[in-house]
């Protein structure tokens, strides 16, 4: 039973914190977001140089061999900086999917480039009717001789518009919601028949709706086993969801601290706001919500690669549910305690609030994860 960080983790934490402090202030972030792409390629290269893009990949694949706890450390620190670069989409979603399901050729082709920051990738697994459920797949992939033909559409693809490579789930057998019959495909974004409608997220990321119309792919585009891709997708989504919980905890910590500072500073009716008991208790509740989410983010990280599926899903769903609920409370109250300026776009408080709001909508909402958690009770003894 040990909650301390290893020496390496501490160094990682410090380096990310230093980066956020030095290179990702609120003003710097604003400038970064003004880029046409909505993020900075330069920052992205820095991520690559610092090895962050290689963190969660096996050493055999050229990665740093980090596990979910390392990811937790990195994401929690990045959560304080509200980064807008496509780290989760490229590294934790598409990258991990490739690393996990891809064969050596595929990894050689894409994974190295990805870790070096030369390739952006995205994972397209959700569909509109299925909402948060990765097993709802209507998109079809049909074998045509040596190649594949894909038709269908995917929704809310995080950083899908800037991605060079799209990893897409499609049905090679069965009907929507059937676990069997889902396969993963790697699609270069410039493949004919691929069209993307880009949109922005409320927290400054990019996403898109993806349509596939008679997209023709070579046989080698299949990533992993045919018909057996769902567990790969779910494993990757869970590990990434655990990371989002850490990101949310980082944002909540920062927001709670910022709000406390504001309450101490700002005076009303002749005393600092921090002197009002109702506001004090609100702060206490914000801290408690943050700690609730933090404890479960740790749990999720510890089990994010567990081989026992039910254990992994319970831990991740518990954490993502709580991160959603806590994030909502902390975000809303931070805005409320700031009063008018909490609503304006010009202070960081609102941006933390928006990030926390968006995190809940990503990789399964609190509602969705609660339902999944409730469906996996531990065996009742006696």
């Amino acid at each position: 039973m040990d909650f301390s960080l290893t020496e390496e983790q501490r160094l990682l934490q410090e380096s990310v914190q230093r980066f956020v402090q030095d290179s990702y202030s609120f003003e710097q972030r604003r400038a970064i977001m003004a880029n046409p792409e909505g993020f900075s390629r330069e920052v992205w290269s820095q991520f690559a140089e610092m090895g962050w893009l290689a963190l969660p990949f096996d050493e055999a694949d050229g990665g740093l061999g980090g596990g979910p706890v390392d990811t937790l450390v990195m994401l929690e620190a990045l959560g304080e900086g509200l980064v807008v670069e496509p780290l989760v989409a490229t590294v934790l979603l598409a990258g991990r999917a490739l690393a996990q399901a891809g064969d050596d050729t595929q990894k050689a082709e894409w994974l190295a480039a990805l870790m070096e920051g030369r390739l952006l990738a995205a994972l397209a697994v959700y569909e509109r009717r299925g909402r948060h459920a990765p097993d709802w797949v209507e998109t079809r992939a049909a074998r045509v001789g040596d190649s594949w033909r894909l038709d269908g559409s995917k929704s809310a693809v995080l950083h899908g518009a800037c991605a060079d490579l799209l990893l897409v789930s499609a049905r090679t057998a069965g009907s929507p919601e059937e676990p069997k019959g889902i396969s993963l495909f790697a699609i270069p974004a410039d493949t004919p028949g691929v069209s993307r409608t880009p949109w922005q997220t409320i927290d400054g990321l990019q996403a898109c709706e993806l349509t596939l119309e008679a997209v023709k792919l070579p046989g080698e585009a299949l990533v992993g086993e045919q018909d057996d891709g769902l567990w790969q997708v779910e494993t990757v989504l869970d590990e990434a969801a655990a990371a989002l919980c850490a990101e949310a905890v980082g944002a909540m910590s920062a927001l709670t601290r910022i709000t406390a500072d504001y309450l101490r500073q700002r005076k009303q009716f002749g005393q600092p706001l921090a002197a009002f008991q109702v506001l004090q208790h609100r702060m206490a509740d914000m801290s408690m919500e943050t700690e609730r989410a933090r404890s479960l983010a740790i749990l999720a990280a510890l089990y994010a690669r567990s081989e026992d599926t039910a254990t992994r899903e319970r831990a991740v769903s518990a954490a993502k549910f709580q991160a959603g609920r806590s994030g909502r409370f902390v975000g809303q109250q931070a805005v409320q305690l700031h009063g008018g300026i909490g609503i304006s776009d010009e202070l960081s408080v609102g941006h933390y609030f928006k990030r926390l709001t968006a995190l809940d909508a990503r990789l399964g909402s609190a509602d969705w994860h609660l339902t999944r958690f409730a469906a996996r009770p531990v065996a009742v003894a006696g």
């Binding site: 409320i202 409320q336 609503i343």
Partner: protein, 399 residues
């Protein structure tokens, strides 16, 4: 006890329905349904004001002699109820409901003759200069100074959260004309031409990317003393009058319209092979909010009844404020959960009703996130809910 309207009131209700039937165009309705800000945009407001004014209904509470409708509380209730059900725009209050009543109550005959007709005609657009940086809930600590110079004042300072200042040609301000005695005592109520030299307006974009409020700067702005309403130092009285004038209020029908909108959205939102309406948790979450809206409707009626009987509403006006603001927030929060993954969707274009195509096909989805974000303000403006609960407690605890 009964909820029936009298024969006269029913006749009025028919008039309102007819009016809405003929005046509320599909374009106006759509604009309302795609407005995520507190107030509709100026073009929509102007058009609706003009239609109301032609019918004599723009200023429901003004005396007839000034062009008002002199509605009873029940008539107001009926109008608000029908307008909400029909999806009509709300009127922008700064002219008709705020500065207008103050001029009527405290203004000189000359001031009445000058300003009131121009509010009704739409010639003037007003904004409100109360809040300042550093004095939000604690209004009495405001610092904007008006110092006499000849027949004028020289005004220096700044006002914050000034809704529609970027449209307005007039602003009514609370300004400090004296720093002696209690802070409240040195405040005066001043009308200022927004075209005066020395005024500048800086937009404040909200979280949601909307531009509705501003900061207004006054740098040696020369304002005739004749633009003061009432005596020097009477500003606090004017402000308090306005607050009391706004007591009661009818919010439940707009909220009920939101409930119905959410139900429609749930019916239209697929969830695998079913729709979200079949999700018992979401359905009952909506139902629990609908119950509170129903309750609020009765409470509003009870308050109107009290007002009609001449009784002061007591803690109830604060309760109404807390209730509608928190219900609004809970409803927009539920909308986010209905939107699911699209709760993170951000449409930068404004106004939403002016956009041609919509990325997600269903244009209603574009409104949900900004609505949720903007609604956070509901528990902050018009007296934070913390202040309202202080008031309720004082009145119920007698403490």
């Amino acid at each position: 006890m009964d909820l029936q309207f009298s024969a006269e009131e029913r006749a009025f209700q028919r008039d309102v329905r007819e009016f809405l039937e003929s005046e509320l165009t599909p374009e106006l309705k759509r604009a309302v349904s795609l407005t995520p800000t507190v107030f509709v945009e100026k073009d929509i407001a102007d058009e609706w004001h003009a239609r109301l004014n032609r019918r004599g209904w723009l200023a429901p509470l003004w005396p007839k002699q000034y062009g008002g409708a002199e509605w009873t509380p029940v008539q107001q209730f009926i109008y608000e109820s029908e307008a909400a059900r029909a999806g009509a725009p709300t009127t922008i209050p700064m002219g008709v409901r705020m500065v207008g009543p103050v001029i009527i109550r405290f203004g000189s005959e000359a001031q009445k003759a000058c300003y009131l007709p121009r509010i009704l005609s739409g010639e003037d657009t007003w904004c409100q200069g109360y809040s300042e940086p550093g004095s939000g809930s604690d209004l009495a600590s405001l610092k904007t100074r008006a110092e006499p110079e000849g027949e004028d004042y020289l005004v220096n300072g700044t006002k914050l959260w000034t809704t529609h200042a970027h449209y307005a040609n007039w602003i009514f301000c609370l300004v400090r004309t004296s720093s002696e005695g209690r802070p409240q005592a040195g405040i005066s109520f001043l009308l200022i031409d927004m075209n005066s030299p020395g005024i500048s307006v800086t937009p404040i974009r909200s979280l949601s990317g909307d531009h509705e409020v501003n900061q207004v700067f006054f740098d040696n702005v020369r304002v005739p003393q004749a633009n003061r309403i009432g005596d020097e130092g009477q500003g606090w009285t004017c402000a308090k009058f306005l607050l009391e004038h706004e007591r009661g209020g009818v919010f439940s029908h707009r909220l009920m319209a939101m409930v119905q909108e959410l139900r429609r959205l749930m019916i239209d939102t697929p969830d695998g092979e079913a729709t979200l309406l079949e999700d018992a948790r979401l359905r009952e979450r909506l139902a629990a909010l609908e119950v509170r809206v129903l309750s609020l409707e009765i409470t509003e009626m009870r308050v109107l009844s009290k007002l009609r009987a001449g009784d002061p509403p007591g803690a109830e006006s604060s309760m109404l404020k807390v209730e509608w603001s928190e219900l609004q927030q809970a409803l927009t929060e539920l909308a986010m959960d209905i939107a699911g993954p699209y709760a993170q969707f951000f449409e930068p274009g404004r106004p939403l009703y002016a956009l041609a195509g919509h990325t997600l096909g269903d244009e209603r989805l574009a409104r949900i996130p900004p609505d949720y974000l903007n609604t956070r303000a509901a528990s902050i403006f018009a007296g934070t809910n913390e202040i309202q609960r202080n008031i309720i407690a004082r009145l119920t605890l007698g403490a």
